[in-house]
């Protein structure tokens, strides 16, 4: 599920087309930046630069309001 930092290079600086996908409507793409529990993965794990981490966090929070992404998932019941 999660993108783990193997190279520690920001994926948005490598591929500029991905920046357009940071949008709460494209919640399936944002799923890559949350854990199975629904937490936002810190940028030092994914390697995303601070600029795009701010955008991602804001869009994930919008998607959570609309129940597109979960606030929290209890692993015992999922």
């Amino acid at each position: 599920m999660a993108i783990l930092a193997q190279s520690r290079v920001c994926p948005f600086k490598e591929d500029k087309d991905l920046i357009k996908q940071i949008d709460y409507k494209q919640y399936k793409f944002l799923k890559k930046f949350i854990t199975d529990q629904g937490k936002i993965i810190p940028s030092h794990v994914t390697g995303v630069s601070a600029k795009y981490q701010r955008l991602i966090a804001a869009e994930i929070k919008k998607a959570r309001i609309l129940a597109l992404l979960p606030f929290a998932v209890d692993p015992r019941y999922s």
Partner: protein
Amino acid sequence: MNNYEIVYIIHPALQEGRLIDIKSKIHEKITSFKGKVLYDDSWGKKKLAYAIDKQKYGTYLFCQFLLEGKDVQAINTDCELNSNILRHLITRIDSSQILDEKDKKEVKKETNKKEAFKEVVKEKEEVSEVVEEEKEEVSEVVEEEKEEVDDTIDSENDNKETQEENSEEK
């Protein structure tokens, strides 16, 4: 005048007719404030990530519009007071983010592409199966050859053993 977009979730029990009523009410409200509806779409019935008002499903509707900033609050309160709208979100957007009717078609095309991709994958799988079969055949042949070689080696060994035995006997 600014560009805004609204996403609202409607109660899953409502039928198509009442759904259109709610939609047209919001559109009328926008036009009554001298606004303009730019884009309108339905995302269909979706499963919610968590239950809202004990409902696990909801119908998502999406709309982009042009409106004066001070009138947005009226639409916001309208949505809040409507008990059939489970949740709504109004966000201000850039003019470059406004979608066209073409985007709807693109979505349909994408689904077609997905189907085509699946077909391609299936074909690939078939091809790979054929290749695997060929490989199996080849490997069988190789095994047979190996067995033959093994037989010859065994026979040689046997010969050696027999010779050794013979020598021992001698």
